[in-house]
Point group: C2
DNA sequence: CCTGCTAATTGTATAATACAACTAAATAGG
DNA sequence: CCTATTTAGTTGTATTATACAATTAGCAGG
């Protein structure tokens, strides 16, 4: 693999973070906690999740998950169900309202992505999605 | 372009941010301000830059650039030269020490990238770099 | 029962960034 | 030339996302 490709990837990833951060900074008034979006998605995908499992999956500190989940619960997007087998633990499950919010919020994000990918070929979009997925997998499985 | 590709891109970008954030969070002891790395790179590329130009290029608030630049100057990585044509303005230029730090820091990042891309084909790496570049360009030019 | 480990919450701190306010220099227009 | 407006940059303050630290209580195993 050529050094040029690596350099390009390293630089462009750095720039990407910066650009996405500037986008999110300019949207500080959103209804759904920006940071909690991925958490809500994960609860939806996993169906029923405890704090620790979510933290492990998202590479977040449990205190962060605890706070984000509490916020989501307060908004009615998830419900907190005691774990029958461990008096210390809880499972978070999606509420109907949470599912709706997730769908709506995701749609707004998809609209933005659509605008950005305007002019891209189907092949490019497919490739980009797959390579991102592959890269993310590499990060999660490293070490 | 298929809806599936868009959904994959949206989700994987969200996950990518999370993962890269967790990586950077676990490296809080680095010598070069993590956030200022891109600024240092930009000064190096542009050769001689004012605060406003850098802020525009990096989509950062000028106060943030001002602070990052001041930090870099304090560390001797850049020098602050008065703009002969505007008594209010300055240009930031790289120092030799700054160039060295940039090269070293970038190499460390490249090492990380190399590990992550272990097993990727040349084609995949090249594609990934180009698609990231293209995507970043779309973000910068939007609106 | 006791000790060590674990799940989650709460306290506190950190880093990156933006918005707000300010100072001073430059510019535009009469 | 003068005045009002704009602009470059710095400093003050606030916000957000996150991690590290401390605490409480439940669980597991001897």
């Amino acid at each position: 693999m050529s050094e040029d490709s690596k350099k390009m990837i390293e630089l462009e990833l750095t720039v990407l973070i910066r650009l996405l951060t500037s986008i999110t900074s300019s949207k500080r008034k959103e209804s759904l906690d920006r940071a909690a979006y991925l958490l809500l998605h994960q609860v939806s995908v996993q169906g029923s999740s405890g704090v620790k499992a979510l933290a492990d999956e998202l590479k977040l500190d449990i205190s962060t998950v605890s706070r984000q989940a509490a916020s989501l619960e307060h908004k009615g997007y998830v419900e907190k169900v005691p774990d029958p087998q461990d008096g210390r633990a809880f499972f978070y499950k999606m509420t109907e309202l949470g599912e709706q919010e997730l769908v709506q919020h995701r749609q707004e994000r998809l609209n933005g992505i659509t605008n950005l990918l305007n002019g891209w070929s189907d092949e490019e979009c497919r490739e980009f999605g797959q390579l991102l997925t592959k890269f993310n997998h590499a990060i999660k499985e490293r070490k």
